[in-house]
C-alpha cells in the first residue's frame, strides 16, 4: 500500500514537472507579455525597466529554473495583471468552481444512474428508448447553446431563475460558498444543470450498458433462482458490479469539470476559475496560467488516486493484485 502511494506521488511529480515545462515553453513562444502589459505609448526606458524587473531579459532556461525554484518554496509568483499572489488569486476563485462542479456531478449521478439502470433493466421498454434518446442529445448538443436556451426559457421567458452571476456567499469551513441559501441555489441551478447535461448522457449510457451485461449473467439468474426480489437483484448484484466504470468516469469528469467549466462559466457569468484562466490567457498572464495548469494536474492526480482506492473497495480481485 505504501509502495503504491510512493509510486503515485512520484508519478504526480513527474507529470507536474513535464506540465510546467510544456506550459512555460508554450507561453514563451507566444510572445513577450510586456507588450500586453504596458501602455503602448510608454517610453523605451520604462519598457526596459519593466522587462528587467520581471526577468524577461533572461534566457528561457534561466527563467524556468527561477520559477521552479520559487515554486519549491511555495511561491508561484504574482499575477502580472492583478498584482496579487497567484495562489491567493486562484484559491479565491476555487470555491465557486468547486461548488458548481460538484453540484453538476451530483445532478448527473443522481439522475444518470437510476435512469441508466432502468434503461438497462428494461431495454425494450418505450421509456428506456426515450431515456437513451435524451442521453444522445445530452452529449451531442453543444453546451453553450443549451446554456443559452436555458437562460432564454427559465430566466427570460419564465423569469423563475436569475440569468447569471453567483448568489450571496457565506463562509463555510473557510470557503466562500453560495449553496447554503435559497437565493444562492437559485443562481447555481441553471449553470449546474447545463454543466451536468453531458455527464448525464455519458453516465446513462455507461450504466445502461453495464446493466444489460450484468442482467444476463449467471449470477443474476442464480440470484433470481434463489427467489431474491428484483429490487435486491438490481440493488445488490447489479449496482456493485457496474460501479467500477461509473467511478472511473465520475472521477475523470469531476476533474475535467473542475478544470474546464470555462464555457458554462462564461455563458452564466459564473466567477470561477474557468473565467480566470481565460482572462489570463488573453493577457498572457503567465504566472496564473502556469499555476492554474499545475493545480489542474494536481487535482487529476488526486482524483485518480482516490478512484484507485475506491476500486479496491468495489472489487476484491483488484485489491488482491494491488497487494501482491
Amino acid at each position: 500500500m505504501i509502495g503504491f502511494f510512493i509510486q503515485r506521488i512520484l508519478q504526480a511529480i513527474l507529470v507536474i514537472v513535464a506540465m510546467s515545462v510544456i506550459v512555460f515553453v508554450g507561453v514563451y513562444a507566444i510572445g513577450n507579455p510586456i507588450d500586453v502589459m504596458i501602455d503602448p505609448a510608454s517610453d523605451q526606458a520604462l519598457r526596459a525597466a519593466l522587462i528587467q524587473r520581471y526577468g524577461f531579459d533572461k534566457s528561457l532556461v534561466e527563467q524556468y529554473f527561477i520559477f521552479m525554484g520559487n515554486m519549491l518554496r511555495g511561491d508561484l509568483g504574482e499575477s502580472f495583471i492583478y498584482r496579487l499572489p497567484v495562489m491567493g488569486l486562484i484559491f479565491s476563485r476555487l470555491p465557486a468552481t468547486l461548488e458548481l462542479a460538484i453540484s453538476a456531478m451530483l445532478i448527473a449521478t443522481l439522475l444518470g444512474i437510476p435512469l441508466g439502470l432502468w434503461a438497462g433493466y428494461k431495454p425494450d421498454a418505450i421509456s428506456s428508448k426515450f431515456i437513451m434518446g435524451l442521453s444522445v442529445l445530452g452529449f451531442s448538443v453543444p453546451t453553450f447553446w443549451v446554456g443559452l436556451l436555458l437562460i432564454m426559457a427559465f430566466a427570460v421567458e419564465l423569469g423563475w431563475l436569475p440569468s447569471g452571476g453567483r448568489g450571496p456567499v457565506t463562509d463555510i469551513f473557510g470557503m466562500k460558498l453560495s449553496i447554503d441559501s435559497m437565493e444562492g441555489l437559485s443562481y447555481i441551478i441553471l449553470p449546474a444543470f447545463n454543466l451536468a447535461l453531458f455527464k448525464l448522457g455519458l453516465l446513462i449510457r455507461l450504466t445502461r450498458s453495464g446493466t444489460v451485461e450484468v442482467m444476463s449473467s449467471d449470477y443474476v439468474r442464480f440470484a433470481r433462482a434463489q427467489g431474491l426480489s428484483e429490487g435486491k437483484v438490481v440493488g445488490l448484484h447489479v449496482l456493485k458490479n457496474i460501479s467500477i466504470p461509473i467511478v472511473t468516469i465520475f472521477g475523470l469528469e469531476l476533474g475535467s469539470t473542475l478544470a474546464f467549466a470555462v464555457v458554462t462559466e462564461t455563458v452564466f457569468n459564473w466567477p470561477g476559475m474557468g473565467k480566470l484562466i481565460i482572462d489570463s490567457i488573453t493577457v498572457l498572464d503567465r504566472p496564473v496560467m502556469v499555476a492554474y495548469l499545475i493545480l489542474v494536474v494536481f487535482l487529476f492526480v488526486l482524483i485518480n488516486l482516490v478512484v484507485d482506492l475506491i476500486y479496491g473497495q468495489l472489487d476484491p480481485r483488484i485489491r488482491v493484485k494491488a497487494a501482491s
Partner: protein
C-alpha cells in the same frame, strides 16, 4: 414410486427468433418423487437446461412457456406470476447452475450472498441468517465454514464454489433442487465427492433432485430414474439401472455405446453418426430418424410413446427389443459400420 413432488406434464417452451419459432422444449413429461434423483440426460442443445429454467419460470424474452403444467406439490408453477413465483423460487424449488465460476457474484462476499438468500424467504435478523448460512455450508462439507463466509468467491476453488451454490440451494430445505450440469466444470475427484454428498442429502433430507447432465457415467452412479431428451423431446424414461442395462430407444443405445469406459484402449470408439439437428429446422416425424440405425418407413411420422414393463417408456416406432440380446454390442457394430 410415492406421490411425486414434481410432476412436469407436456411442458413446451418456445423462443421467437428471426428464423421463426424454436421449440426448445416440446412436450416434456416426467415426475420425481421425494428423495429421488432423476437424471435428465441429453446432448448439448437437447433442451435439458431450458427445461430446468422453465420449471422455475426463469425463461426470459424472446422465450416463453407455450403450454403444459409444472406441478410442485400440486401447485402449477406456470400459472404463478411475479411475487407468487418469487416466493416459490429458492424456498420450495431451487436450482444449481453449471459453472461455479459464474454463479456467485465475484464482488460480494459469500456471507452477503447467502444472507440475502436466507432473508429472501425468512424474516430473520442478519445475525440469525448468518448462522443458518454457516450451518448450510457445514452441511455440504465445507471445512471451517465461519471463515469461508467472509471469503470472496475468487478465493475458493471450483469445487468449493459449487458446494457453496448447493448450500445456497439447500438453505430453505426445498422439495426439489434442479441441478444443471453442476459437476461438468469440476475435476473428476471433486465430482465424485459432490455426487456422494448429493446422494446423501437426497436420502437424509428427502429433497428430490433433477440432475441435468450429458454424462451417462454420472447418471448411472447417481440417479434413481433417467429421462433421456433429444431435440426438445423426451425419448426414453425409466429406472436408471434398467435403462442403462437395456436401452429401448436407439438414441439411448447410441449414447451408451459412446461412453469411453466401456471400451478397450485402442479400440475405435463408436459414435452416433451426424450431429444434433438445429431446433429451428427439425425433420418431420422423429427428429432422430436421420441418425438412427433402426429408422424405417414410419419414422417420418410422429412416433408414439410406447410403454414397457416397470413404467418404462420410449418415443419410437421401432424400439429395441430387450430379447434381441446385448443391444450394446449389436448397436455399436451397427454404428461403426455406419460411420
Amino acid at each position: 414410486m410415492s406421490e411425486p413432488v414434481l410432476r412436469v406434464t407436456d411442458l413446451r417452451t418456445e423462443f421467437k427468433v428471426r428464423a421463426g419459432v424454436v421449440k426448445a422444449v416440446d412436450g416434456v413429461t416426467f415426475e420425481v418423487g421425494r428423495g429421488r434423483i432423476l437424471g435428465l440426460v441429453g446432448e448439448s442443445g437437447s433442451g435439458k437446461s431450458v427445461t430446468g429454467y422453465s420449471i422455475l419460470g426463469l425463461i426470459e424474452l424472446p422465450g416463453r412457456i407455450a403450454g403444459g403444467e409444472v406441478l410442485l406439490n400440486g401447485v402449477d408453477l406456470t400459472k404463478l406470476k411475479g411475487e407468487q413465483i418469487r416466493r416459490v423460487r429458492g424456498a420450495q424449488i431451487a436450482m444449481v447452475f453449471q459453472d461455479p465460476m459464474m454463479t456467485l457474484n465475484p464482488v460480494l462476499k459469500i456471507s452477503t450472498q447467502m444472507i440475502a438468500a436466507v432473508r429472501a424467504h425468512s424474516n430473520v435478523s442478519r445475525k440469525a441468517a448468518r448462522l443458518r448460512a454457516r450451518d448450510a455450508l457445514a452441511t455440504v462439507g465445507i471445512p471451517s465454514p465461519e471463515e469461508r463466509l467472509d471469503s470472496y468467491p475468487h478465493q475458493l476453488s471450483g469445487g468449493m464454489r459449487q458446494r457453496v451454490a448447493i448450500a445456497i440451494a439447500l438453505l430453505h430445505k426445498p422439495a426439489v433442487i434442479i441441478a444443471d450440469e453442476p459437476t461438468t466444470a469440476l475435476d473428476v475427484s471433486i465430482q465424485g465427492q459432490i455426487l456422494a454428498e448429493v446422494r446423501r442429502l437426497a436420502d437424509d433430507t428427502g429433497t428430490a433432485f433433477v440432475w441435468v447432465t450429458h454424462d451417462l457415467a454420472v447418471v448411472s452412479s447417481l440417479a434413481d430414474d433417467i429421462c433421456v431428451m433429444y431435440a426438445g423431446r423426451v425419448v426414453e424414461t425409466g429406472p436408471a439401472a434398467d435403462v442403462i442395462a437395456s436401452p429401448r430407444h436407439p438414441y439411448t443405445a447410441g449414447l451408451l455405446a459412446s461412453v469411453p469406459a466401456e471400451h478397450e484402449p485402442g479400440e475405435r470408439l463408436p459414435q452416433v453418426p451426424g450431429s444434433a439437428p438445429s431446433l429451428a429446422d427439425l425433420p418431420p416425424g422423429c427428429a432422430f430418424a436421420p441418425r438412427c440405425f433402426k429408422a424405417g418407413p414410419a419414422c417420418n411420422t410422429t412416433p408414439p410413446v410406447q410403454h414397457f414393463e416397470d413404467g418404462r417408456t420410449a418415443l419410437c416406432h421401432y424400439p429395441i427389443e430387450p430379447d434381441s440380446c446385448q443391444p450394446l454390442s449389436s448397436t455399436s457394430t451397427t454404428y461403426q459400420s455406419a460411420s
